[in-house]
């Protein structure tokens, strides 16, 4: 049995310890906000926070999560009011929206570690998150806007 916290709630997992966190979140906890995009940790659609750090949940085995604290897009804010979410909505970042929960989680982690990122910092931090619709310009803009709110 693996004990962990997901969005503040205690959970116990007794399935295949090799199962990636993403499928536990989606298929067992029905938290479908974290998306599947590649399954090998290179597109960022499944990004969640584990102990505050952004990780690709599609390649994090459940066996590595004992005692860890997982935050997903569903747990990022209570009222859709995390500065990154607000900036995303204000700038109308999403097109199809599928990658955006991963983008938002990645951006939230970036702003936590670097409250005032440069353009270069943003491109560095966000290049693991693919958006096939091509919303990158607005992602940059929204991160800057969120940084200003936070600062």
């Amino acid at each position: 049995m693996i004990h962990l916290k997901v969005n503040g709630a205690s959970k116990a997992f007794s399935g295949d310890p090799e199962m990636p966190l993403l499928w536990y979140l989606r298929d067992e906890l029905l938290l479908t906000g974290s998306k599947f995009g590649c399954g090998i940790g290179i597109c960022g659609a499944c990004t969640v926070h584990v102990n505050g750090q952004p990780v690709r949940s599609c390649v994090v085995a459940m066996s590595s999560l004992a005692g860890k604290e997982v935050i997903t897009i569903e747990g990022l804010s209570l009222h859709a009011d995390h500065p990154v979410q607000l900036a995303w909505a204000q700038i109308n970042v999403p097109q199809c929206g599928y990658c955006q929960s991963g983008q938002i989680m990645q951006a939230a982690a970036l702003l936590k570690s670097k409250p005032n990122p440069t353009a270069h910092d943003i491109d560095e931090a966000m290049q693991g998150n693919i958006c096939r619709c091509g919303t990158y310009q607005r992602i940059r803009e929204a991160i800057k806007a969120a940084a200003e709110v936070k600062a």
């Binding site: 298929d27 599947f36 199809c96 929206g97 096939r132 091509g134 607005r138």
Partner: protein
């Protein structure tokens, strides 16, 4: 997180949506000829099924097109609301199931606004007139003195108002007005059209609550993962599932019969592993041991195939446009310039791979799918499981990108076939590897151009040839030549004022399923034509934009009929939507001015490139600025796009489509390539099928919308075609290196 709330299962959606006593512009008020069983696509006047008003004044507008990121689920309902005089905050948007009564729901071809803008306006205006007439009757005043606005009807002269809620019942009793009685709003009165409202899905997306095909949960569903024949047309010889069945969570395996040519939207076949969750299904599939018979397409080698396309393009082929006498002009020319171009197969790779749930029960199927075309789902699923199309209910989820892939519902057929075999709801969710191996690929093309130029360098004759496996091969496996429709995407409609012009198309056999990808054949045709024009400008020693405009000639509407050329014009009348070179000229002038083209001062290693192209009836000109460093690394600091798509309905969403098209264009130009060996696609995931990431995308994209009058045209696709040639022409300006093959990353830039 109740499943039932997400997707209520109901066939009678009108009855389910609207409470009793509501004004339903639908079944009840439908003109007699439009009984629900009739195909309303044949009927131009059928506003009814899109709109309902409840007695509490709330307005429900049906979105019948699929939302894959264009904002259409917001934009079309917004048009209805504006004409209705509704307050947008009191409008609820409901996604339609697949049903012919809506007309076409095939959300591709950049046609949602151009085909439904007027219908949506008429829908709103019809209901508005009925509300106004109901108010007029209550007040005993002429209806012409009553005006609906902000969810109420106003009689200005007497300062009286009645809310929609107060009028619904009386309005419902009004006869449905004739089309001739409807007066559409003056654009000056628009509250939402031309201004826009935030996407109805915005908050759900930002909080992870938005539901895509991948996210559908149906009680009792099982998860399937399918091992398909690795080569198109391959057959299952023998398989051993004993190890697969040992995997924890695996329930059983099921064989799906192989598809037979033509493949169309059939399930490809293979061995499915059914399991308790996605992970167990995929782990079980990896343990299958299968012997395949590969079949005739195992000979496919993309390297040899490329050579054959390019070689065929240098030889005389089937003439598809012929004006003047190209051969005579070429043979008497003082100078002849020629060049060959090549573009590879591409995969769609939407961020959400194909996904669906289907439940076969009592001879009927209920499906939930990320689909661009729920009516195609109905037909495809019906055929796959041997029932009638109207016994298939298709609920449409949000689509996590699509780009044409999700117009082809083979994955929904898979779910339905499996559900029928095992008697449970089945979820299919493809991995990225499946998505890339088993796509309906964007075609690969070999092209050849030859021009005769006069002493001033101006083209007097142009021969344009393209050879590629056509989309038609997916639906008729004997087809080798392209349809006129596909040739009308940038080859037949070369817009330059050249006295002698001939276009030709050569045959090619497809070895993979060929499909349409965002902007389709325009991708390679615009790359070839717009690169070649830049070559001619360079040979003449002239500025590319000035040369291009001179070649375009004075503003005119191209008369294909006079040339006896068959041209399809995106399914629209050439009278209503002419190929107007004046509009093309205008976008070129705007992009040149707004980008600062005339005053450009690129430093060493920097270059500006230009291209312009009309597609989906929309005129787009692009200027790309590039930097190539000493190591040959490419950067794209800025892109300018000038766009004439007629009147703009939702400007922010149109802008976002073109911003996205610039990035998609970078993927096409710089990165994307599908290759094959022994009939197998060699790429598998985003590590080897590359798409643009944030650091590879243009640093800035400036979209300049020219809001013209007349009819709205396409927005989703037309930004893509000019991108690759603009980037390649910029690389030439920066380095002197001419790119004649995509992707650029395979070329040495230093």
């Amino acid at each position: 997180m109740s499943v039932e709330v997400r997707f209520a299962s109901r066939r009678d959606f009108l009855g389910g949506l609207f409470s009793t006593g509501a004004l339903i512009l639908g079944a009840r008020n439908l003109p007699a000829r439009n009984t629900p069983d009739l195909d309303v696509t044949k009927s131009a006047w059928n506003p009814s099924v899109f709109l309902g008003l409840n007695t509490d004044g709330s307005v429900i507008i049906v979105a019948h097109r699929s939302e894959m990121g264009t904002g259409i689920r917001t934009s079309l309902p917004m048009v209805v609301a504006d004409e209705l005089g509704a307050d947008w905050s009191r409008v609820r948007v409901e996604q339609a199931i697949g049903d012919k009564r809506y007309g076409s729901q095939d959300t591709d071809g950049s046609q949602s606004i151009r085909d439904f803008y007027v219908i949506m306006r008429e829908t709103g205006a019809t209901a508005r007139l009925m509300l106004e007439r109901a108010a007029a009757a209550k007040w005993h005043v002429p209806a012409a003195e009553c005006r609906a606005d902000n969810h109420q009807v106003i009689h200005a002269a007497s300062h009286r108002t009645l809310s929609f809620a107060e009028l619904i019942t009386a309005a419902a009793a009004q006869p449905v007005p004739q089309k001739s009685e409807i007066v559409l709003k003056d654009p000056a009165e628009f509250k939402y059209i031309g201004k826009g409202v935030p996407s109805v899905d915005l908050t759900d997306i930002c909080t992870g609550r938005a539901i895509y095909g991948f996210d559908v949960l149906v009680p009792g569903m099982v998860y399937a993962s399918i091992e398909r024949p690795p080569v198109l047309g391959g057959k299952l010889k023998h398989f051993d599932d004993s190890a697969a069945k040992q995997v924890r969570g695996v329930q059983q395996t099921v064989v799906i019969d192989e598809a037979k040519p033509p493949y169309a939207f059939q399930a490809l076949g293979g061995v499915a592993v059914i399991a308790d969750n996605t992970w167990a299904a995929s782990q079980g599939r990896k343990k299958l041991k299968i012997d395949w018979e590969y079949g005739p397409h195992a000979i496919f080698d993309s390297g040899a195939y490329k050579k054959s396309l390019l070689e065929a393009a240098t030889k005389p082929q089937k003439v598809v446009r012929n004006a003047g006498d190209v051969d005579a002009a070429l043979s008497s020319a003082t100078k002849v310039i020629e060049a060959s171009y090549y573009t590879p197969l591409l995969a769609h790779a939407p961020m959400e791979p194909p996904a669906a749930v289907a439940h076969y029960r009592d001879g009927k199927v209920e499906a939930w799918a990320a689909t661009q075309d729920p009516q195609a789902v109905q037909e495809t699923v019906a055929k796959a499981v041997g029932i009638q199309a109207n016994d298939v209910i298709c609920h449409v989820t949000l689509l996590g990108g699509a780009f044409g892939r999700k117009s082809k519902p083979d994955y929904v057929a898979e779910a339905a076939i499996l559900s029928k075999k095992i008697g449970k709801p089945v979820k299919i969710s493809w991995t990225r590897e499946e998505d890339i191996h088993f796509d309906y690929f964007h075609s690969t093309a070999g092209m050849y151009f030859k021009a005769a130029v006069d002493s001033s360098g101006r083209p007097q004759a142009l021969l344009a040839r393209s050879v590629y496996p056509p989309i038609g091969s997916t639906f008729d496996d004997k087809q080798r030549y392209s349809d006129t429709g596909e040739l009308s995407l940038g080859l037949i409609d070369i817009p330059f004022d050249i006295p002698n012009i001939r276009a030709e198309n050569g045959p090619a056999e497809a070895h993979v399923r060929i499909g349409w990808l965002r902007s389709v054949a325009n991708i390679y045709h615009a790359f070839g034509v717009q690169s070649f024009m830049d070559e001619l400008a360079a040979a003449a020693g002239q500025d590319p934009v000035e040369y291009w405009l001179a070649a375009l000639g004075s503003p005119r509407k191209i008369d294909f009929e006079a040339e006896k050329t068959k041209y399809e014009n995106y399914g629209k009348s050439i009278t209503d939507y002419p190929l107007d070179t004046g509009r093309l000229r205008k976008v070129v002038e705007v992009v040149a001015e707004r980008s600062g083209w005339a005053n450009r001062k690129p430093a060493k290693g920097q270059g500006w490139g230009f291209a312009a192209h009309r597609s989906f009836l929309t005129y787009v000109a692009a200027v790309a600025q590039v930097e190539v460093d000493t190591a040959g690394k490419l950067r794209i600091p800025r892109v300018d796009l000038a766009v004439d798509c007629g009147p703009v309905i939702n400007p922010d969403r149109v802008k976002s489509q073109f911003e996205g098209a610039a990035v998609f264009g970078v993927s096409v130009a710089v990165l994307g390539e599908i290759t094959a060996a022994d009939g197998r696609v060699q790429q598998s995931n985003f590590n080897d099928y590359l798409v643009a990431r944030i650091n590879e995308a243009p640093s800035e994209t400036h979209v300049h919308l020219i809001n013209t009058e007349g009819l709205p045209t396409g927005a989703g696709e037309p930004g893509v075609p000019p991108m690759a040639p603009a980037i390649c022409n910029a690389i030439y300006a920066a380095t002197g290196k001419r790119i004649r093959e995509l992707p650029i990353r395979k070329q040495r830039l230093t």
